[in-house]
Amino acid sequence: MPSLPQTAGADPAAAAAAARPPRRKELSNLQFALVVTVPVLLFLLVVVAYPLGYALYLSFHEIRFFGGYSAEFVGLANYKAALADPKFWRSLGLSLRFTVETVVLTIGIGLALALVLRDLKPRWRWLRAMIILPWAVSPYGAGIFFAYFGRGQTGIGTALISAFGFDGTLNLITQAAVIEYLALGAAWNMAPLVAFFLLANMLTTPKRLYDLAKIDRMRSYETFWHVTLPPLRFTLFVFTCISTVLALKTFDYIFTETQGGPGNSSTVLTYLLYQISFVNLDLGYGAAMSFFLLALILGTTGLIYALWGRREERK
């Protein structure tokens, strides 16, 4: 337990009273916690609370830049407008679709990768280190990369069909499937990290447990369910939360890859917010809508915790 003894200044009179044990006041846990966290809390106050408070202020005002800056208090009008805006609901739907798909793909690919990496023969183990590389690519870079990768002229779709002898181009970034394509790229970016953590978990499972399963005549899916999966469940929960939040707030990756298009078929909530606030400069309306995004993020993670996380808490 960390504790900071408060040393009193060297006092010759106190030293003379040798019978008396030296007085040392120890900090309580709470005091110590405050000492080490106050600087961080202050910092957070500046970088989080202030912008958040300012956004709250904006959301109750109509901000005008043209004809001189003005802020007019409009009460809940911005919030009401957002709820009545079909674009908002459409983007919300796209965000949820992108998030669900990204999370499922990230966790699924991460788990599959971890299983493959676990069973590598010793001379292929170096692949375990290589596999982390996609994660090292910034979402910004991944967006550019996947944009080229998906386009008809330059993309893998065209390369694939020409390998099968078809003449023509296959565009992967289409109105119908752009969200799925985006989710795949996001999963490519994130899954290696998930795989890494799952692999670390898997390696702590005693090998003998697999022997026990063999003696109990478990089928392979039962062995997976009863032996491989249990130690991973907490990690799976944590990464489901993390990738849910990351997917809901994804902006840079979509900005560089599709700019919300084709048309507005990948205008997820964050992209819509960007258009409203920074293209149309309707800051009050954008701020109000961003609080719906905040509520969505808090709501989904809260829901995941309530439905899943509470059962995985370490006893």
Binding site: D216, M218, P230, K315
Partner: protein, 366 residues
């Protein structure tokens, strides 16, 4: 119940023989302990009996039937693993149930058997607990219930007690032996702890470097160790081993080393002289005595008080460490020179070349 025969079993990993040409018979209803230091091949041998590892060559017979290529459940064995391994996310009840899930028994029969097994090892009140909520001893009992619920032909236990504290180990040791005797089911027990082996086994198979050094009852391996390794491994405190030679002197054979000379008596009196010999004598057979011919001088290094006796650990002038058992409460300053004597007829003499006892004409007469 089953009699198990291992015939010329070899298990090779790469160029390393984990087990080499092992022949072993485990009698029906017997508790056989496989004893040896880590890496001696005892666990590999058990895995091959269980069907978890396939031997490189050789045959395994259960009651005369070749089971070398069959899976663990076809052999109808039950196994308890090191640290009493259980599925960590399943309750004790579910853990035991997993043993019978594929048995095809009707549900109520399964339930009755689980409760009966739990009763037998006294874990009924723990059935809805997760392994993480159980103590080491309770986990061990649940693992045992999981094994007996299957009513197997053979129990295989791989160091199940090694993670427990000494007192618990002692009581569970007796419980396991008691269970095995009540069921009269063949049991193979792997351990590196020679006390466990001595106290539990009907017979003990001592293994080293993938080979069986000796197999026999606890009395046999204790009193007549057939190899130098077995002599040093079995017994606590361990047997004293003193290097020297055997010379003929006026019609007698004398064991001679830098520290003392001892005219041989008993079986080994008839052996041929040898330029290198190792004399083995149990600490319990050594008595502290005055100096004189045939007495081994030794300088006290430490004394361990065991309550009912004291063990004197001492160094001979040539630097060999020896132990002697003294009466309880025996005290001496560290560094004091004492002398110990023993009946030469009790000594065993090994050939360091072959690691085996020297051949004598009429050893049985001793």
């Amino acid at each position: 119940m089953a009699r198990i025969d291992l015939q010329n079993i070899v298990k090779r990993y790469g160029s390393h023989d984990a087990v080499s040409s092992l022949d072993l018979t485990i009698h029906d209803g017997e508790l056989l302990v496989l004893l040896g230091p880590s890496g001696c091949g005892k666990s590999t041998t058990m895995n091959m009996i269980a069907g978890l590892t396939e031997p490189t060559s050789g045959r395994i017979l259960f009651d005369g039937k070749d089971v070398t290529d069959t899976s663990p459940h076809e052999r109808n064995i039950a196994m308890v693993f090191q640290s009493s391994l259980l599925y960590p996310h399943l309750t004790a009840y579910q853990n035991i149930y997993m043993s019978l899930k594929r048995s095809g028994l009707p549900r109520n029969e399964i339930e009755a058997r689980i409760l009966r097994a739990a009763e037998m090892v006294d874990v009924r009140r723990l059935l809805d607990k997760l392994p993480g909520q159980l103590s080491g001893g309770e986990r061990q009992r649940v693992a045992t219930a999981k094994a007996i619920v299957r009513e197997p032909d053979c129990f295989l236990l791989d160091e199940p007690l090694s993670a427990l504290d000494a007192a618990l180990r002692m009581s569970l040791r007796a419980e396991l032996v008691n269970l095995q005797k009540r069921f009269n089911t063949t049991m193979v027990f792997v351990t590196h702890d020679q006390v466990e082996a001595m106290t539990m086994g009907d017979r003990i198979g001592i293994m080293r470097n993938g080979k069986l050094e000796q197999i026999g009852t606890p009395e046999e391996v204790y009193n007549r160790p057939e190899t130098l390794f077995a002599a040093g491994f079995i017994g606590s405190p361990p047997m004293n081993l003193i290097e020297g030679e055997v010379v003929a002197e006026g019609g007698m054979k004398v064991f001679a080393c830098k520290d003392f000379r001892l005219p041989l008596a008993g079986a080994f009196a008839g052996m041929a002289p040898a330029s290198a010999a190792v004399l083995g004598i149990r600490p319990y057979l050594m008595q502290l005595a005055g100096s004189g011919p045939g007495a081994l001088p030794m300088k006290v290094y430490a004394i361990e008080q065991l309550g009912n006796e004291a063990i004197v650990i001492a160094d001979t002038p040539s630097g060999a460490r020896v132990r002697a058992v003294a009466p309880a409460g025996f005290h001496a300053q560290v560094g004091t020179v004492l002398h110990a004597r023993f009946d030469p007829a009790d000594a065993l003499l090994y050939d360091p070349g072959t690691q085996r006892p020297f051949a004598v004409q009429d050893r049985e007469a001793a």
